[in-house]
């Protein structure tokens, strides 16, 4: 019951949040020194007042600010995010197209980050202050410190250009046709339709961007796993267990990890939220047709319907992930359920 009320409260708050995000971007968009006119009309068209007037009318730029805002919000309630000025297609459609690509990449990089991060963290904590611990800590700090745009260029240069181990950019090799569209995530769709060629090719293309994108989160997870494990390992109940004669360090770590899972889970969630924002650069370099690319192009063109759409999508993601994590806390550790 408590969980249900909590969830409802959070969803109500989410709507408030989206409303705020939409309002903010809308007013930022009106602070632009010019308007979309100069970004989208050619020099020759700009010289033609008829065309300028028609453009302004079409995009509702003639109405007063409040009318524009009201129209926008009314449409938003109807889940109509408007039409991208740049592509001329509905923003919802553009996001529907690019979101699966981004989610697929995000999923694999979180997978990479979690596996490696937790592994490194456990090893680091159990071998505290050993040589290997120092190395793993150095790796995790490097992971959070490495500029992803630079890392992306370097791995492409080494593994694609010089060694030829990795396939190039994009989601699939050019001559491999994508699997039948079900979710838009190629690996999943390929598995569902039994298109193994596409699955293999899609996985091959995911490796480099997933590592580049996941390195930051991997560093965070390593750190968190290490420190929370150390904390629980020195805590009372482990000491009690030890006093009772439990000596196998391995079992102890597993016990301790159950307790350390909450902070790790938080970091994974935060990392997932960050990923979606950090996509911009990685998708640009790997020519990944996802939300990040779409956002990048939209910002460059000051295509505000699109920018608002992307911001809302990512804000929803952020909020939903936080909600899921909070709910998972309850599952993992019943003690937190009520207090939250």
């Amino acid at each position: 019951m408590g969980t249900l009320i909590f969830t409802i409260k959070r969803l109500a708050y989410l709507i408030l949040l989206l409303f705020g995000v939409a309002t903010c971007v809308f007013f930022i968009s009106k602070m632009v020194p010019g308007d979309a006119v100069s970004a989208y009309l050619s020099p020759r068209s700009l010289a033609n007042p008829d065309i300028v007037a028609a453009f302004k009318e079409k995009w509702g730029l003639n109405d007063s600010l409040w009318v524009q805002y009201l129209n926008y919000m009314t449409n938003l309630v109807k889940l109509d995010l408007g039409v991208s000025i740049r592509t001329g297609n509905p923003v919802v459609e553009e996001l529907g197209r690019s979101y699966p690509a981004t989610m697929e990449l995000a999923f694999f990089s979180i997978l990479f980050a979690s596996i490696m991060g937790i592994l490194f963290g456990i090893v680091s904590a159990t071998k505290r202050n050993s040589f290997i611990d120092q190395w793993l800590r150095a790796i995790s700090v490097t992971g959070v410190s490495i500029p992803s745009f630079w890392f992306a260029i370097i791995v492409l240069f080494i593994f694609y250009s010089k060694l030829g181990w990795a396939p190039g950019i994009g989601r699939l090799s050019l001559r491999v046709s994508p699997p039948e569209h079900i979710s838009g995530m190629y690996v999943l769709d390929g598995l569902l339709t039994g298109n193994i060629i596409a699955v293999k090719d899609a996985l091959a293309h995911l490796i480099l961007p997933a590592i580049v994108l996941g390195s930051f989160t991997m560093g965070l997870i390593t750190r968190t796993t290490r420190s929370s494990l150390l904390e629980t390992l020195s805590s009372d109940y482990i000491r009690t267990a030890r006093a009772k004669g439990l000596t196998d360090r391995g079992i102890m770590v597993v016990h301790a990890f159950g307790n350390a899972a909450i902070p790790v889970l938080t970091v994974i969630g935060v990392g997932f939220g960050n990923l979606l924002g950090g996509m911009v650069v990685v998708e640009k370099i790997f020519a990944w047709p996802g939300v990040g690319q779409f956002a990048y192009q939209s910002v460059l063109g000051l295509d505000f319907p699109a920018i608002i759409g992307v911001s809302l999508l990512i804000a929803v993601n952020y909020a939903v992930i936080n909600l899921i994590i909070d709910l998972l806390y309850g599952v993992i550790d019943p003690r937190v359920r009520v207090s939250r």
């Binding site: 490696m116 050019l174 996985l203 079992i251 020519a287």
Partner: protein, 533 residues
């Protein structure tokens, strides 16, 4: 023990993903390559629509050109437009009414034959959409269907470039029945009511050798051969144009044989292809020109409005080094009529144009003999892959030599620069320009009193004789006479205008040497239907 198990599982998982994927790229290529392989072109795209009523971007014509037919076309290498859907035409004595006879054998993909009604619908729609494309139909007053195969077009004023203009994508002929079915509107309400763009972006309704099969923005575009094409069938059944915004990726992909053509390479990359067998390089000169603009109104241009300062800058810029920077094949035209257009002159010798002594001399005659410091606004665009900011850095270093210190102000095109440029309040900048249609008349916008000229504060009364050349040239339908007039414009403006054309940009394309007929043609396209193995 459990810990080791966990560790082992993780390692295995990572390894298995890695091993599956390592194999992944080799297999499919060999399995599918044997089939009739598509032509794969990598491009840094600038397009997002293939509706001829909206498309305006430089690279859209490469696609629209093979999907739709026009009344006239520019085939590669041709100096003058050749008839395509038109069989013949006549012009009234006053040059206002063009009557076109259409060929009878042309048909759309749908099977409908191309008629005068389609021409009228397409042109009316292009005008009434009031889009970027519409600007190219400025001056068209009415389109009248005489009979199924005859259409007449009435202009408001005689236009010596009209036939050239009809080759541009805005004049593409659409299948009116299909477009109407998908929401197309051609009457005056089109700008608000037409809803065919979405259809035309993903499919097509033309009579060209290819049809659009799919287009995904930021990903790729697929065209398939129109098996019922009324002309000669092209060699490739399928053409894929893959978005690859990074030129390095294009280079690597063409080296690896993943793509057949890399469309956007830079000069500095070419040396990497020297030792690669199986790749041919096509270098050409584009019609893109870069220019420095110095506003002639002292309020806006400040120091650079001084004619002596303008001359000093003209002699101080190091054209030779700019050519090196932009790449092999860069040329420096004398004025704003690009080399290659009728009436243009041979490119100037870049080394002799730079003369620091002369530049200092000119500066000493100006109101600022000891030099000055000024803002230089530059936007984030990169014509032919060379950022304007890089050009600005070079110019800054050149002008330092005559004690003009420029402070580079970086702006985005959409976030202010575009507006200021349009509103004629940019005092000192470097910009670029590509022709709207394949005729020197498009360049006359730089003349005093015309809209680009006015951006530099160059009003008609500052040089009435030169300003009057605009109407004279546009109205002159005898091409020989027109050529002479354009030559006069070049001579007049070579040394004396608020614009310094610093370069006409080159273009480099790399293609598999198996391919024949890969040729860059104006404006900004490959003739995709001409490419074969």
């Amino acid at each position: 023990m459990k810990k080791k198990g966990l560790l082992l599982t993780c390692v295995l998982l990572v390894l298995s993903i890695a091993s599956i994927s390592a194999k992944g790229d080799a297999e499919p290529a060999s399995e599918q390559a044997a089939m009739n392989a598509p032509l794969v072109i990598a491009i840094e795209p600038d397009y997002f629509t293939f509706d001829p009523g909206y498309a305006y971007e430089l690279y859209a014509p490469m696609v629209i050109g093979v999907v739709y037919d026009n009344l006239f076309e520019f085939t590669s290498g041709a100096a003058a437009p050749m008839p395509q859907l038109a069989e013949s035409y006549t012009v009234s004595d006053d040059g206002l009414v063009y009557t076109f006879k259409l060929r009878k054998d042309a048909a759309f993909v749908s099977g409908n034959s191309v008629t005068a009604t389609d021409v009228k619908f397409s042109f009316d729609r292009a005008i009434n959409l009031k889009s970027n494309a519409s600007a190219l139909l400025d001056g068209v007053v009415s389109i009248d269907v005489i009979d199924d195969n005859t259409v007449s077009i009435t202009l408001g004023k005689a236009d010596s470039a009209f036939i050239s203009k009809t080759t541009s994508t805005a004049y593409a002929v659409l299948d009116s029945a299909v477009v109407i079915e998908h929401g197309g509107v051609s009457d005056a309400s089109a700008a608000q009511t037409d809803s065919a763009q979405n259809y035309l972006d993903h499919q097509s309704a033309g009579s060209g050798p290819y049809t659009l099969k799919s287009f995904t923005a930021d990903d790729k575009l697929v065209m398939v051969r129109n098996e019922n094409y009324w002309g000669d069938l092209p060699a490739f059944e399928t053409i894929i144009i893959q978005d690859m915004p990074d030129e390095n990726a294009q280079l690597l992909a063409v080296k690896a044989g993943d793509i057949d053509i890399a469309f956007n390479l830079s000069s500095d990359q070419l040396s990497q292809l020297d030792s690669i067998e199986g790749v041919q390089i096509i270098s050409s000169t584009t019609m893109t020109m870069g220019f420095i603009m110095m506003h002639s109104d002292p309020e806006i241009g400040m120091q650079v409005s001084d004619p002596y300062v303008q001359k000093a800058i003209r002699y101080a810029v190091n054209y030779k080094e700019l050519q090196t920077l932009i790449g092999a094949g860069t040329i420096t035209p004398e004025s704003f009529i690009q080399v290659g257009f009728i009436g243009s002159k041979d490119p100037i010798d870049p080394a002799s144009q730079t003369d620091l002594t002369k530049a200092k001399d000119m500066l000493s005659k100006s109101a600022y003999p000891d030099g000055f410091s000024i803002d230089f606004r530059v936007c984030d665009l990169a014509p032919e892959g060379i950022p304007l900011t890089l050009i600005a850095e070079k110019i800054k270093s050149d002008l330092e030599k005559i004690d003009i210190s420029i402070n580079i102000v970086q702006e985005t095109w959409g976030g202010g620069f575009g507006d200021a440029y349009r509103n004629r309040t940019v005092g000192f900048t470097a910009m670029y320009w590509g022709p709207d249609y394949n005729d020197p008349n498009t360049q006359l916008a730089f003349l005093p009193g015309q809209y680009v000229g006015l951006r530099a504060g160059w009003t008609a009364d500052m040089n009435p004789a030169l300003a009057a050349m605009y109407d004279t040239i546009v109205a002159e339908t005898d091409n020989n006479v027109r050529t002479g007039f354009i030559e006069d414009v070049v001579t007049e403006t070579g040394e004396d205008s608020p614009f310094i054309v610093y370069a006409q940009y080159p273009k480099y394309i790399a293609a598999s040497s198996m391919l024949k007929g890969v040729e860059y043609s104006n404006l900004y396209r490959l003739d995709l239907a001409e490419i074969s193995k």
